[in-house]
């Protein structure tokens, strides 16, 4: 019997651990938070300064 079917027959709602707690939700949130931080840091320190220098601010002759 496949695992989801067994879980269904055992009365365990999908996407939860056997005790009924959300399964790995904290891990997904942590990965998402880390991804957001890395994305924001790349933008702030590399992408935005480049855009600023080349397209927005270049006051010198």
């Amino acid at each position: 019997m496949s695992k989801p079917k067994a879980r269904y027959r055992a009365g365990i709602p999908p996407h939860t651990a056997s005790a009924g707690r959300p399964r790995h939700r904290w891990r997904r949130l942590l990965i998402l938070a880390v991804a957001i931080v890395i994305y924001a840091a790349l933008l702030w320190y590399y992408v935005f300064p480049y855009v600023d220098q080349h397209f927005v601010n270049q006051p010198t002759i």
């Binding site: 933008l43 702030w44 935005f48 855009v51 600023d52 927005v56 601010n57 006051p59 010198t60 002759i61």
Partner: protein, 205 residues
């Protein structure tokens, strides 16, 4: 099809948030850097100058101050400008405040003083430079308190790379002049806004 639309929707949301984040960076992020640098420069500015060395040999041309150090103070009463000018126009120097073009004259010297400043972000140093008109006053102060007053003679817009503007107003024969440069139109770096001024006080002896 639904999946593709969902992905496209998420991408557009991400792009929108990225753009908003960029606005935050330009308005607050860059300005915070400049404000912090200006606060440090103001302390440096108030510090008394070291005593001039006694002249023992032939006078040599003094080397320019190190990039990023305070060289002057610019005050433009009409547009509320009051900043410490730093040496050099590199990105690092301009992040601190308006920058003095190395190689151009210093306030009070013969020749043209060249100063560049950001218009968008970075504390919006020269944001309202386009409001200056003929006859407006610009004051430059050197360390030690010597003040030089300039009167705007003309403004113009040129393409980037037109370095001749640093020679001063072509229609003026003043021996001590000032050129301010910034980017224009606002929020772009397509062209350069130029403000020319002649020193009127102290008058040339």
């Amino acid at each position: 099809m639904v999946r593709a639309l969902r992905i496209a929707g998420n991408v557009f949301i991400l792009l929108g948030l990225t753009f908003l984040f960029f606005v935050v960076y330009e308005v607050y992020g860059t300005s915070a850097i400049t404000k912090q640098a200006q606060a440090a420069l103001a302390i440096e500015w108030e510090r008394p100058l070291p005593p001039a060395p006694t002249q023992t040999a032939e006078p040599e041309e003094a080397p320019p101050p190190p990039p990023g150090s305070a060289v002057a103070r610019i005050v433009i009463p009409k547009i509320g400008v009051d900043w410490i000018v730093v040496e050099g126009v590199s990105l690092d120097s301009l992040a601190k405040g308006p920058g003095h073009y190395t190689g151009t004259a210093y306030p009070g010297e013969l020749g043209t003083v060249g100063i560049a400043g950001h218009r968008t972000g970075w504390n919006f140093i020269f944001a309202d430079l386009d409001q200056l008109q003929k006859g407006d006053t610009i004051i430059l102060e050197r360390r030690g308190g010597k003040r030089f007053t300039y009167r705007v003679t003309d403004t113009t817009i040129v393409k980037p790379g037109n370095v001749s503007v640093l020679n001063g107003d072509p229609n003026s024969s003043a021996l001590k002049a000032l050129t301010l440069t910034t980017c224009t139109p606002k929020y772009t770096s397509l062209e350069r806004l130029i403000v020319w001024a002649d020193q009127v006080d102290p008058p040339l002896s």
